[in-house]
Symmetry: C2
């Protein structure tokens, strides 16, 4: 315990994982530093412990969850089900506003594009991939690597199917190409909504409080995985200790952190700082203004824009603080020093140097080349110019028609067999699409395309010569029938003939743009990605050689485990305590959103214990994608529900600031208190083992 307390002072700025001085690291389950944890905290994390936690932890679309009952009940965040709530809402009534409690299991609500994946197996295929690409030049290696991984996936799925235990097999690249794995998941594609509180309490404080702490957010919800139309049997579920953890108690976070950039070279970080983040922020800010002004039109507009606005504001705050982090010259200088050190040490190893050459310079040159066509690539192939759900459907359909007839290994990656069921699920989902919102986003992105590519760019001349962005967007959206899932499935199933015959204006547009967009993609894959990936493989080799293998890879939305303790931090000289209590929620409430406590809570207030812990902070190392992760104690019980980081956690994309980077979680006691006294959800309490 003493050691941990010293850490903030020891390593105010711990850079990329040379040695884990701090409670840093998003560790893969095959390489968890159990010895370190035992030595530091006296907690034994053995194979059985790891297996139990792995099988109780679940990957959702962009989030994490955990099984919390033998009947497939899933604990996750409210903000992880916000899209499902929006999808089950209308202009007239929003489940985001009202929350939802399924009256019984038969009336749990379909979340049509949700999935739940449990990692069953991990298989290291590095040797096979390296063997396949040996001796090839960068472009050829890139292509061969892609084909090899696709083939491995396909074989794996076929094998599991034959064995009567069908798994989703996904190729995973770790350490920027230092390792390749097949991660094999049991997938549940029938996931339903069981419970969600009102957004006013789930996201109390809204955007102003987002990434802040102290905090009072009941950011939890319950889903249920179904199998063959019945609740899935999940005997491996994790139990919840509703009393939560003690201060300084060692805790673990299992989950699927989405993406970190701690292994990027300085040239790549500069690219983010100079070329990627500022324009992205400007456009997101402007769209925020559009959304927000649109939402003020009337209550219905406000309802239908809410989910998109939440997501946008969250991303905006993340990118804003990421830019701030990269603008800190001292931190960049430290990265630079670490990189120089690695380069120097790697160059002293003759054999290594002969094999790797100078991958850092190759990356820097690729960045420079990427800059020349980055904007067309981003707007045309990246979709920044056609921000519309309907337009994205159109593009998927047009490309699917061309790709699906090809042999699996020759398709664009996202149309290989492994991805097709998910694509079809998304096309078939009867989600509400609001034309006014589609027009807004499409017109906005067309305007921005004209702004960033310039009015004389060929694509701009072609699209926006006789029509304004507003007029074009209106014609495309109003004339399209792609909001109808039946129409989409017809085009999906009809293949190239159906696409060729379609006169849906969005299909026509996607068809027209496809050749130019594909050429940009080819350029980016061959000239940029191939070079950068090969260089990162070399850097990974150098890093393993110089720093050894007790390191963790950047987050890749694959299962990770990290360790830490319950603790606050010191902000401008003032200690921030690690727990909040219910009493301050009511003191902080203003009656006005985003600080309005919902009626259900006001009604129950007198019955609630004001001393109930609400949220807590820990020093675990997390990032977006960890939302919904279980916070786990030494005994493997859930003692919290991760939903956020503090503001300092955002720079965790690039480095772990041990002094200030904190995870923020919902305390299980407030979940129990709310289910008991506010929502009176007795069956759920019983299922969660929290009945009196």
């Amino acid at each position: 315990m003493l050691l941990r307390r010293l850490l903030p002072f020891l390593s105010g700025l711990a850079l990329a994982p040379s040695t884990a001085l701090a409670d840093e690291g998003m560790w893969t389950f095959d390489n968890f530093p159990s010895t370190l944890v035992r030595e530091r905290y006296g907690v034994a994390v053995d194979g059985a412990w790891l297996d139990r936690v792995r099988r109780g932890t679940v990957r959702l679309a962009g989030c994490t969850a955990s099984f919390v009952s033998p009947d497939g009940l899933l604990l996750t965040n409210h903000h992880c089900v916000a899209s499902c709530l929006a999808q089950n809402s209308t202009r007239e009534s929003s489940l985001l506003e009202t929350g939802f409690i399924a009256p019984d299991r038969g009336r749990e609500l379909d979340c049509p594009v949700q999935i739940a994946d449990v990692l069953e197996k991990l298989e290291n295929v590095t040797a096979a991939v390296q063997e396949a690409t040996r001796g090839l030049d960068e472009q050829a290696a890139n292509e061969r690597r892609r084909q090899t991984l696709t083939a491995l996936e396909a074989t794996c799925e076929q094998t599991s199917l034959t064995a009567g235990n069908p798994l989703k097999c996904e190729a995973v690249t770790l350490y920027g190409g230092g390792q390749f794995w097949l991660y094999q998941y049991r997938r549940y594609d029938d996931v339903r909504l069981v419970f969600a509180p009102e957004a006013d309490i789930a996201a109390f404080g809204g955007d102003p409080d987002n990434f802040q702490f102290p905090r009072w957010c009941l950011d939890f919800s319950l889903l249920r995985a179904y199998e063959n139309g019945r609740p899935a049997a999940t005997p491996q579920y994790l139990t919840i200790d509703f009393d939560g953890p003690a201060p300084d108690e060692p805790v673990f976070v299992a989950g699927h952190p989405g993406s970190t950039d701690r292994q990027l070279t300085v040239a790549e970080l500069r690219t983010l700082r100079d070329r990627i983040l500022p324009p992205a922020l400007l456009r997101a800010s402007e769209l925020r203004g559009r959304y927000s002004q649109f939402g003020k039109t009337d209550a219905a507009a406000n309802r239908i824009v809410q989910d998109a606005l939440f997501g946008l504001e969250n991303g905006l705050k993340v990118e804003r603080k990421q830019l701030d982090a990269l603008l800190d010259d001292a931190l960049l200088a430290a990265k630079d020093a670490a990189e120089s050190d690695l380069r120097k040490r790697a160059s002293r190893n003759r054999a290594l140097a002969a094999g790797t050459g100078d991958p850092w310079t190759r990356i820097a040159m690729a960045q420079a080349e990427e800059a020349e066509r980055w904007l067309p690539y981003e707007f045309l192939e990246g979709g920044a110019g056609f921000n519309s759900r309907l337009a994205r459907h159109a593009r998927t359909l047009v490309r699917a028609a061309a790709e699906r007839p090809k042999p699996n290994g020759e398709r664009l990656r996202e149309f290989t067999d492994g991805f097709l069921p998910r694509l079809e699920q998304q096309l078939a989902a009867p989600l509400p699409i609001y034309p006014e919102l589609e027009r807004l986003t499409l017109s906005f992105s067309l305007e921005r395309m004209r702004e960033w590519l310039g009015p004389d760019a060929a694509v701009v001349r072609r699209l926006l010569t006789t029509e304004t962005p507003d007029a074009l967007a209106a014609r495309l959206v109003d004339g399209s029938r792609l909001a109808d899932p039946a129409v989409r499935l017809q085009l999906w199933n009809g293949g190239q003939a159906a696409i060729d015959a379609s006169n849906d204006p969005l299909i026509v547009l996607a068809r027209d743009l496809d050749a130019e967009a594909r050429e940009l993609r080819r350029w980016h894959e061959d000239e940029i990605e191939a070079v950068v990936e090969a260089a990162h493989e070399d850097i990974a080799r150098a890093r393993f050689a110089v720093l050894g293998t007790t390191v963790y890879p950047d987050a890749t939305f694959t299962l990770r485990l990290n360790f830490g303790t319950v603790q606050g931090w010191v902000e401008n000289g003032t200690p921030v305590a690690p727990f909040t209590k219910l009493d301050r929620l009511f003191e902080r409430a203003t009656g006005q959103p985003p600080f309005a406590v919902p009626a259900s809570w006001r009604a129950a207030r007198a019955t609630l214990d004001p001393a109930t812990p609400f949220n807590l902070s820990t020093n675990n190392d997390i990032v977006g994608g960890n939302s919904g992760s279980p916070l786990i104690d030494a005994a493997g019980r859930i003692v919290g529900l991760v939903f956020d980081g503090n503001i300092h956690s955002i720079s965790g994309a690039y480095w772990f600031d041990a002094a200030k980077n904190r995870t923020v979680a919902v305390h299980p006691a407030i979940i129990r208190e709310a289910l008991r006294k506010v929502y009176r959800a007795e069956p759920l309490l019983a299922e969660l083992g929290a009945s009196d």
Copy 2:
């Protein structure tokens, strides 16, 4: 000529004005490098030439103009009169859309807050100011300097009044405090609109084409200065050579460049890059989204938001490219090297070093201290939290009541005697104020204040606890009577008693916030500005000692003259020609804004000479504030009307890029062609000396 052609290759990156290798420099009229110009171009710029040009050049509010007839006719940009056009518009009809031609002099339109200033005298008062502040510490010196300059202004105005030739006397700080001057202007405060084309042709290409070249903008308009209700007699007017300049011809720009930051220290540049520009850009982008979505509501909304949106988008583009410039590490490193060099050379001069100490470090420390309270300062005192014309009026009135009774030297600077007539003019002006727009901007800025200061900031708790930003803004705007000039004047004239008695909600708000805002201002003036100004005085001394006096000061919206030649540049290996012609305008037109040619031009098209030159580019060194500047040939005739720079000119805020920084001007031939054939404005053609 040869020399000039070589310049781009000689000095791709010319940093702060050590020696003028390029055609760089915004020179004051007392220190114009006539010898250099004679040597380089064979043009004799003597005292008589300078006097003529100075007296023909006019400062407008934020722009430049020139006298072009003996009857007070002023040539400037359309975008310099956009506010006047908006002020003379209504929800139903916009002069920005229709343009305006006064049928006769009696029907020229009042521009109620426009002024026209002609610089009559420049007086160096450096010695007096330095004498007054000698030996004082930074805070005391800052205060004494302010008082001294105010007193000098007052004496100067009194003297000129007594002499029967009343002048506006303004203290001017040059070289960051290296010199102090009294600039003395003849002011015309009755300025009327004579002619303006439609915005569709004046700003053809709109925001997408802004800061671009080649270009086709008829960005010109005509005002007239009045005196005692009659057109002013302006025998010093400049004549126009409607045939314009030849390629490579030497040309001069006289005008009032607003602000450059070429003398800032690296610490100050980093502050701009890290702390000032990113948040400013984010907020401006979001407001752009708000404005633009609001404008789509209906035609009236579009009309009333247009002027504000244009201004915002222009500023946004400038700040975006400024940030890009500062993100260029190579340029920042060059600044750093230049600064280190100056520091080293200055430290070798013992006497100098003893007198100045280390002003660079003092500035860096002041930046760090400023960061701590910058946000409250910006939102409360800087007004970022209360973006509303009515709220600004309220604040002016509340402060004026407290300040005006004080002795002149003890007032806040903007309430000293010299500024009062202008303040009163603005309060008295019957400008349209649209409540829906006021609510939008006020609510937006309150939201942003909550976002950036955080929901727990005292001022946010005070204002936004029981009301949302929307509700508060609506209550303040709808309840205020300050849109009525009579009400404003009553409070202005009624002094403190009237302010105390007012229950206008915006006055109440301004009263409530005043103490906190003043305390922030006091902190900023005493702890930050005083330190930075004193340090810059020391740096200026070092610079004069080391680099000599053949240098130019940063722009300060005072009269400057620069030289250059008509020329294009090379963009990505492709030469850009310096002239555009009318024919391409019609080829480029799409029929849709912002690329719609107005009906008047379509109707006249057959009569127009397609070979008429339209816009041109030169390598003069300009910046915002130079809009409307006359482009002048060796004979002192107007051969163009500056209205923009190319995209590379924006980094001119920090350094002059001789290879690419270009000025963009309206060619006089297209002005003549338009007045003749499109607008058939015979009397104006006659007055301009352009009759057939």
